[in-house]
């Protein structure tokens, strides 16, 4: 679109309206995060002030309790050290990395097969995956609990990992299926003419060119595992909890003790990796969201 010529003719009023709208939206989107990060370095009477929220900005009570300094790390100390949040961070790292790696391994193989098959049943598998994708996770969880108790595999990380991988498969298959469709068929077919078997063609020809699609899909697999609450809160024992269920368990016990700030600090700690993710992979996230939309 010839952007320059179009914007030339835009009346001033409209321009002001557009800029104002964008500014309001950006504030709406970003301010809650900035406010919570800022507030996590205050004490509770400041961040949850009964008098005025200026206290949260100036840190009135924080100064009083802290020899004049208006910032305190006590929330972080309480969460990470006293309440052992680092354990949950460690568990989250194990779960997210395993889920991403296993999902992508299964998903690339399956997605490639679906993209190259052209048979009737491949289409039905995709439709079935769409239905599975729509299932609320908690309904599946209520089906897992009893069998897992019986088999005595409830509460440990590997169970949650494999469940999250399975829940993630429908989405991964769809994404990678549409990505492999965009790689020309001739590429692997010519390798097969040269004497490769299907699997060799996949390994030697497709794997080297598939990384952009795999990275994008991997980001979303990571997000699913990282953001999950329904599965991990029901399937993990208290010792093995990941970050999100741990934060929700803080709220039950911590709020009574008047230490909401532990939860605030934990929430900010859990948000930081997501910030970094968006910062570095903004382009991949955007292209991933649109790839599914434009092609599917």
């Amino acid at each position: 679109m010839s952007e320059a010529t179009l914007s030339h003719k835009r009346p001033l009023g409209l321009n002001i309206l557009i800029v104002g709208f964008i500014v309001i939206w950006v504030i709406l989107a970003a301010f809650p995060f900035l406010w919570t990060v800022w507030g996590s370095f205050k004490v509770e009477p400041d961040f949850f002030s009964r008098e005025s929220w200026w206290n949260a900005i100036l840190g009135t009570y924080t100064q009083r309790q802290n020899d004049g300094s208006s910032f305190t790390g006590s929330g972080y100390y309480g969460a990470w050290v006293t309440k052992e949040f680092w354990r949950a961070v460690f568990n989250t790292a194990i779960v997210t990395v395993s889920v991403t790696v296993i999902s992508l391994t299964l998903g690339t193989l399956g997605g490639y097969a679906l993209a190259r098959s052209g048979q009737r049943y491949a289409f039905w598998i995709l439709i079935l995956a769409l239905v599975f994708r729509a299932m609320p996770h908690i309904t599946l969880v209520s089906g897992y609990l009893l069998p897992f108790f019986q088999l005595n595999i409830w509460g440990v990380l590997p169970t949650s990992i494999i469940v999250l991988v399975a829940i993630n498969q429908p989405f991964t298959l769809w994404m990678l299926h549409s990505f492999f469709l965009s790689i020309p068929k001739d590429l692997d077919e010519s390798a097969m003419v040269d004497g490769c078997s299907r699997f060799e063609a996949f390994r030697r020809v497709i794997i080297p060119v598939m990384w952009p699609g795999v990275v994008t899909t991997g980001l979303f697999s990571f997000l699913l595992a990282y953001n999950d609450f329904a599965v991990t809160s029901m399937l993990l024992s208290a010792d093995n909890q990941t970050m999100v269920p741990k934060i929700s368990s803080f709220l039950g016990s911590v709020q009574e003790q008047g230490n909401v700030m532990f939860a605030v600090a934990a929430v900010v700690s859990a948000t930081v990796p997501l910030f970094i993710l968006v910062l570095f992979f903004q382009r991949q996230i955007v292209s991933g969201l649109t790839a599914g939309a434009v092609k599917g």
């Binding site: 010839s2 914007s7 557009i18 964008i22 939206w25 709406l28 989107a29 809650p32 919570t36 507030g39 949850f48 002030s49 399956g110 097969a113 048979q119 289409f123 439709i127 079935l128 769409l130 599975f132 299932m135 609320p136 996770h137 908690i138 309904t139 599946l140 969880v141 209520s142 089906g143 897992y144 009893l146 494999i162 469940v163 991988v165 399975a166 498969q169 429908p170 298959l173 299907r198 699997f199 953001n227 609450f229 329904a230 809160s233 029901m234 999100v244 934060i247 929700s248 605030v264 929430v267 948000t271 997501l274 968006v278 910062l279 903004q282 955007v286 969201l289 599914g292 939309a293 434009v294």
Partner: protein
Amino acid sequence: MPHKTFFAFILPSLIAMVLFIALPIVSVVVQSFHVEHGRILVEVESCQPFGGCTKETRVDTAAMAALKAEQPMGQFNGFGTYLNRGHLAVNEIGAILANNNGFGDVVTRIYNLPFYKALSFTLVFCFVVTPLAMALGFAIALAVNTLPKVTKGPVIFFSLLPMIITPLIGSLILYWMIQPNGIIGASLRHIFSDPTLSLRQSPQLTWFSLLFYGVWTNAPFSFVVFYAGLQTVPADTLESAMIDGASRWERIRYIVIPHLAPLATFVALVQLMDNFRVFEPIVGFSAEANATSLSWMIFNDLAGDAQLFGSAGATSVLTIIGVVILLMPVLVRTWREFNHKVV
């Protein structure tokens, strides 16, 4: 691709889906037809040297444990759980319809039944948040598209945050701000000069804040998809419309919107699916007194000390039926298109 190779490639993925998605659905259905064992009571006579003998009824824990080991799912209950007060509440609805004071009374009394309360919030959340979030996303996409290139990147960065954030964490962050002692809650009290105003106390305000959260977290997805769609609007068509004298609004209405319509169907489908499982915001906002959802009901049954598998199973089956109804238009259309292609 030969069948054998195809299945060799897809088998691991297929096994994972069958074992952990298809079988749990079967397991949920079976569970929903069972109910927890009733208590086995025994009469115990305890005699004391001076007090004489008293008879007491106690729960026989040993017999209970034996029965539970034998039949872990509980006893068969048929459709009993589906029809009881906690779910479809057939008898209660019959009573309400037989004896009531007008339409308003019927609605309030049905709303007070737990399943219908959850269902109504779930549906309202689905069908209010989805169109509003799509409209907001479209507006942001149009606005961002006019910005100079330098500012586009940062604006997109901040816009992605509400979507990418963990739902429970995002709702907690907003919840802390709208509490009476948080910044938004306190400011609202100040603006309306009402010192008792609290977004938690009235059901309407709780619903409103949950819906606000829903739009906040759903809008970025529509924005990103529509923004990408705007890049593919044919410039020639826009230009010729301008030459023909179409105004800005007319160009959006007659060129851009029709061009984005297929994308809008996709976005609506994905967001309806995701909003139907609304759950984390209710936990994050501690809103269960005023707003519950189907997913929250299942969670509540399972999270308590006495895990009610039968009740959770019945709600799950009803939820799955809801999902299938929601997907029906898409499935029917795909089925028709597919048959069309083959013929």
